[in-house]
């Protein structure tokens, strides 16, 4: 008998603390029954029958709730279900009691005067079981939902950052290859050098996407590779001036951020003016902020810098927003015939 109970208990995979609570509850039930004047044997039989059936009723209730959980505001269904199971419990426990105890004192009539008390106790216990089950279930659902949502957001953010970093202009690549094609005929040594520069530049853009912040010095190395290639493409038309203060060199910056800004400046400068184009890049560090400005000439007569400053800056702005949660990091203004882009990168060391 004991072995059977144990194996049933093991199969049900009910946590041991619930078994503990059940034993305590059964003991308490027995004690109350003896206090009420029943002898111990009757009280114990009563308690065991009532509480084994109560455990079974709880089990039944939970299994029903597994397949049917009342929605918001439908708790009346939950109460009705609990009442139905309570009644079922009462009828079956009384039937078994009468069968086991027959006519002994304590077996009582089927609907004795203790009927409301028994019913109330069973209802409370089953009600608690139902409520706890539903509440825990709701909380777990919500937690899973929150997890899923934050996971999805994180994934989307990473994908977007990756995509923004990868936005290498195909124009740049194809035109560079075309220049190399020309150099192969006229100056093979220079062609080889340009292939090497282009490769190093491309490798840099591929390598850096996993480490988000790099030193300005590393970023400038990558930028110089880019500028060298552009200078070969555009010849003497394109000139650059880079001025980095000593303290700014060790500052950190999101990898591959400067290139699209400079690319935008070069395009703007080269396609909006005729003749030589000087691109100035300046970096300073003050009050835990790295400030980088990039300026290019433009023609105020024909260009409207507020519009068409290019996709380049929009993606830079988006990227910085994703990284720092701020929209004021990229700023642009036009002064006479110079278009200036300023970015401010907060430093945390």
């Amino acid at each position: 008998m004991t072995v059977n109970f144990l194996s049933i208990y093991k199969k049900s995979r009910v946590p041991s603390w619930i078994l503990g609570v059940w034993i305590l509850w059964t003991g308490l039930y027995t004690w109350v029954a003896t206090e009420m004047g029943f002898d111990l044997r009757v009280a114990l039989i009563d308690s065991l029958i009532s509480n084994i059936l109560l455990a079974a009723a709880s089990f039944l209730l939970i299994n029903i709730l597994k397949y049917y959980t009342p929605g918001k505001g439908r708790y009346i269904n939950l109460v009705a279900l609990t009442i139905a199971i309570t009644l079922l419990w009462y009828v079956s426990s009384r039937a078994i009691m009468l069968y086991v105890l027959k006519t002994e004192i304590g077996a009582g009539p089927f609907w004795g005067k203790d009927f409301p008390v028994r019913l109330a106790i069973a209802f409370l216990v089953l009600g608690c079981v139902a409520l706890v089950y539903v509440l825990v279930g709701t909380m777990e659902d919500r937690e899973i939902q929150i997890h899923r949502k934050s996971d999805a957001e994180k994934l989307a953010r990473e994908a977007e950052l990756f995509r923004l970093q990868q936005q290498l202009q195909p124009h740049f690549l194809f035109n560079s290859l075309n220049s190399i094609s020309a150099l192969v005929g006229s100056d093979p040594t220079q062609a080889r050098k340009m292939i090497q520069q282009l490769s190093e530049f491309l490798r840099g853009t591929l390598k850096k996407d996993d480490q988000q912040l790099i030193s300005l010095e590393d970023e400038l190395h990558q930028l110089r590779l880019y500028l060298d290639i552009e200078k070969i493409r555009f010849g003497h038309r394109l000139q650059t001036e880079i001025d980095i203060s000593e303290s700014a060199k060790s500052a950190t910056i999101p990898a591959l951020l400067l290139q699209p800004i400079v690319e935008n400046a070069i395009k703007f400068g080269l396609y909006d003016t005729i003749g030589q184009v000087l691109i100035r890049i300046k970096a300073t560090r003050e009050n835990n902020q790295l400030q980088v400005t990039v300026s290019n000439p433009f023609d105020p007569e024909t260009a409207s810098p507020t519009r068409g400053t290019g996709f380049g800056l929009a993606s830079v702005q988006r990227r910085l927003y994703l990284l720092f949660g701020r929209n004021d990091i990229v700023q642009t203004f036009a002064r006479e015939n110079q278009f200036v882009t300023t970015i401010i990168i907060p430093q945390h060391d």
């Binding site: 035109n175 290859l177 220049s179 493409r233 010849g235 003016t273 023609d299």
Partner: protein
């Protein structure tokens, strides 16, 4: 001798075309140009039979430069544009070469051109190029016009309104007005419909210049622009206006 001109803002790109042309003893490169302005001058001076023309160039692009010529020569476009952008005119250009291109591909383009050149009739093909080129997204931000011997670039934001005038369209800005040898339908296609609206058979206005709309006679309205002009609005123009202003 066949006269050719190369127009490209990248020196090495020009070098490549020149190198590929070296094997053609019957073709002489008359000029190399950095941009459309130099190109226009050189074309006027040399009257070439063939142009090698880049699309993205300083100030005015290749299409805009061609628009300014009364008798444009045959053109082979050389560009790094992706296929999608180029598809708009691929049936009409003499040929187009996607950078970087091979000598074989270049030779094919010249063969194609020579077949057309033999018939001495390259103009219809080019006309078509110009019509389809207007679909190119490159053109929407500005309009290039010729005024006497100078070339004027008008940013579309500066345009107040367009007015039909016989075979021309009059482009009104705060600085004056210019004529362009195009139709209203052409501009309706070319300009951003979110910024320009055709309110009348003969008028198209810059939406941001509109300040007031008043009823005028039966079934018609009149628009007041910020600059003070009154523009008539037709019945169908009114429907479009209501859509955009609501």
């Amino acid at each position: 001798m066949i006269k050719a001109i190369i127009i490209d803002d990248e020196p090495l790109a020009r070098t490549l075309v020149k190198e590929y042309l070296a094997s053609y003893t019957d073709i002489e490169v008359k000029a190399e140009c950095n941009d459309g302005f130099e190109g226009l001058k050189a074309i006027q001076e040399h009257q070439p039979d063939l142009l090698f023309l880049d699309i993205q160039m300083p100030k005015i692009n290749g299409f805009e430069m061609l628009e300014l010529l009364d008798h444009p020569p045959a053109v082979i476009f050389t560009t790094a544009f992706d296929e999608y952008a180029i598809r708009a005119f691929d049936n009409h250009a003499v040929d187009y070469l996607l950078k970087p291109f091979s000598k074989e591909r270049f030779d094919k383009a010249l063969e194609k051109w020579k077949a057309i050149y033999a018939q001495k009739d390259t103009r219809p093909a080019l006309k078509e190029v110009m019509e389809t080129a207007s679909h190119s997204p490159l053109q929407r931000e500005r309009i290039v016009v010729k005024s006497g011997s100078s070339i004027i670039v008008i940013p579309v934001d500066d345009i107040l309104y367009l007015e039909a005038a016989d075979d021309f369209v009059k482009i009104h800005t705060r600085k004056g007005h210019w004529l362009k040898n195009k139709t209203m339908a052409h501009f309706e296609q070319q300009l951003d419909p979110g910024r320009f609206i055709r309110v009348h058979r003969s008028y198209m206005v810059n939406i941001s210049e509109i300040t007031r709309l008043d009823p005028y006679e039966k079934d018609s309205h009149i628009l007041l622009l910020k600059s003070g002009e009154n523009i008539p609005v037709s019945k169908s123009g009114m429907i479009k206006l209501k859509e955009i202003l609501s």
